[in-house]
């Protein structure tokens, strides 16, 4: 463990896309860390103490100090380990663009990934899928000529969006083969997805689609059981 990085721990879970973001960011900076995985269905004392406001993962503990909220953690990692490859661009405008898309993904796009399999009616499900497709079309438009949103190497948007890839692929299967990433409609994103998944900082972090599908089934069952008993 590289001791001049300080003590670095990450509270999270393998399946959470939000947790994947700081994991990828730490890999980009080659920072070793201890991954403290939460048990599915319960919250540890450490988590409750470190994130009393939201009680959610991920939480980065750097020399004992907690940092919460995945995008904020990634920015922190970029600023503290500034000698490593940079995650956010240096130009303020480009940074603003990167932050804009990260916020869009969190507020507008990802809620539909969760809503779609849980939808009570066909209508609700289709509405969620439509929103997802619209979002992907926008992202396709934002994807340029280079390999990644960040240019030659992965950056802030790649991490914000790419962390959702396993869930996106799982969703396509769970919805009976609906094409969200489409060779015809989003060819750029298809190419990007392959490159991103193969990146050394990402490879061991992104779970296999089958594992997410299994996990999603557990999660949906748990939520439905909780709803039925309330």
């Amino acid at each position: 463990m590289a001791s001049n990085n300080g003590d670095v721990k990450l509270i999270g879970a393998w399946a959470s896309p939000y947790v994947m973001r700081p994991r990828i960011a730490l890999n980009v900076k080659s920072v070793e860390y201890e991954f403290l995985q939460e048990q599915f269905g319960s919250k540890s004392e450490l988590l409750l103490k470190s994130n009393p406001v939201h009680k959610k993962i991920p939480v980065l503990l750097h020399n004992g100090k907690p940092i919460c909220e995945s995008s904020i953690i990634v920015e922190y990692i970029d600023e503290v380990w500034s000698s490593g490859p940079s995650i956010l661009p240096s130009d303020p405008y480009d940074r603003a663009v990167a932050r804009f898309w990260a916020a869009y993904l969190d507020e507008k796009w990802f809620p539909n990934v969760r809503a779609a399999p849980m939808a009570a009616t066909e209508e609700a499900k289709n509405a969620a899928v439509e929103q997802l497709k619209e979002g992907l079309a926008l992202l396709e438009g934002a994807y340029g000529e280079k390999d990644f949103f960040g240019g030659e190497k992965i950056g802030f948007i790649d991490i914000a969006f790419g962390s959702m890839l396993a869930w996106l692929r799982a969703l396509q299967v769970m919805l009976g083969g609906v094409k969200l990433l489409d060779e015809e409609k989003t060819p750029g994103l298809c190419k990007w997805a392959a490159k991103f998944s193969a990146d050394p900082a990402v490879k061991d972090v992104l779970p296999e689609t089958e594992k997410i599908i299994e996990f999603a089934k557990l999660l949906v069952a748990k939520i439905k059981a909780a709803a039925a008993s309330s």
Binding site: V53, H62, K65, I67, C68, E69, I72, I73, E75, Y76, E79, V80, P92, Y93, R95, A96, V97, R99, F100, A103, Y104, T121, E123, A124, A127, L138
Partner: protein
């Protein structure tokens, strides 16, 4: 966001509306840093080509135009201003990465939690409103605790105002307004002494003082929003040709009649039909459709699947449209 256009000057423009609390954040940041800018005022019911061109994704304000390029989302704009004019005081974010992360956390908390909950308290009824009220109370408790932690309890940003103070600006002008319209208190001396002191201090900052949207216009706008629940019932009654008597309530002084007919929520609108009260606007609409089923038009379809669909879309529109109104 749109790319640079040929011939655009190196000036700063801000697309905003007269009342948007989000746009006001950008105004304060620009003024605090002494950055001259041109205001482009929008009417969000008739969005201009400029807005649609520069914010095609959200079609919302504020949008900052600089070097012919556009930056959207108020907090992203503030970070952009801070980084681009980094030599202009005051610092809106701390220099230390850990403190920056904490600052960003609280700014995000305002947008992700505090604003949505107060909005829910203001615009909903019944159980949803109760939930909004209790969550808002919790959020203010957390903010009070956070402010108390600061050694010099001047601002969330320390001795000078920073991004979190700017993000919370709506507490200064909109919270008292909501309190008056709803007849509830969100902040009080006992539970929120630090926040109330902060509010006074914020309202004394010159840049803040001189930028408020006109108060009477705001009162009219937000009162109308709250009463929209009542408006839809009026529309339904008029569409069906049902004669009715209006009883106007002053929510700061609730009448015995209201307390008698809506003891659970003590809110308007309440329909009283042959002495029996019906509460909650969407419930009232369904009641009107059923009680006067012979009067056209049908407000809901007959077929159960279509009825479910109509209820789904009414709720969906309700949530989407109401939230959009907050942003104007």
């Amino acid at each position: 966001m749109a790319a640079r256009e040929p011939g655009e000057e190196e000036e700063v423009k801000l697309i905003k509306t007269w009342s948007s609390p989000y746009a006001l954040r950008a105004v304060w940041a620009l003024k605090l840093k002494g950055i001259p800018y041109e205001s482009i005022d929008e009417d969000l019911t008739h969005k201009s080509d400029i807005l649609l061109h520069h914010n095609p994704v959200h079609k919302k304000v504020p949008v900052l135009l600089h070097h012919g390029r556009s930056i959207c989302e108020s907090l992203v704009i503030i970070e952009y201003i801070e980084e681009t004019w980094s030599h202009n005081p005051p610092r809106l974010l701390p220099e230390d990465p850990l403190q920056r992360a904490e600052t960003r956390f609280w700014a995000k908390f305002v947008d992700d939690k505090a604003l949505p909950s107060i909005w829910q308290a203001f615009s909903k009824e019944g159980k949803e409103q109760e939930q909004g009220l209790s969550e808002t109370a919790e959020h203010f408790r957390l903010l009070e605790a956070e402010l108390k932690k600061k050694k010099k309890r001047l601002f969330f940003g320390g001795e000078e105002i920073g991004i979190v103070d700017i993000a919370l600006g709506w507490v200064v002008n909109l919270v008292p307004l909501f309190e008056r319209i709803l007849g509830v208190k969100f902040l009080d001396e006992e539970r929120h002494p630090a926040l109330l002191e902060w509010r006074q201090r914020m309202s004394d900052v010159d840049v803040v003082k001189e930028s408020w949207p006109p108060r009477d216009k705001l009162v009219a706008k937000w009162t109308a929003i709250r009463e929209r629940c009542g408006l839809r019932v009026i529309w339904a009654l008029k569409l069906k040709g049902i004669p009715y008597d209006s009883i106007d309530e002053d929510l700061a002084n609730k009448s015995d009649l209201l307390l008698q007919y809506n003891p659970v929520h003590k809110k308007v609108p309440v329909l009283i039909h042959n002495g029996k009260p019906v509460c909650e606007s969407l419930v009232i609409l369904e009641y009107i459709d059923e009680a006067w089923s012979q009067n056209p038009p049908r407000l809901l379809p007959r077929d159960p699947v279509q009825r479910a669909s109509a209820r789904f879309w009414a709720k969906f529109a309700d949530e989407k449209v109401r939230y959009l109104v907050l942003l104007t």
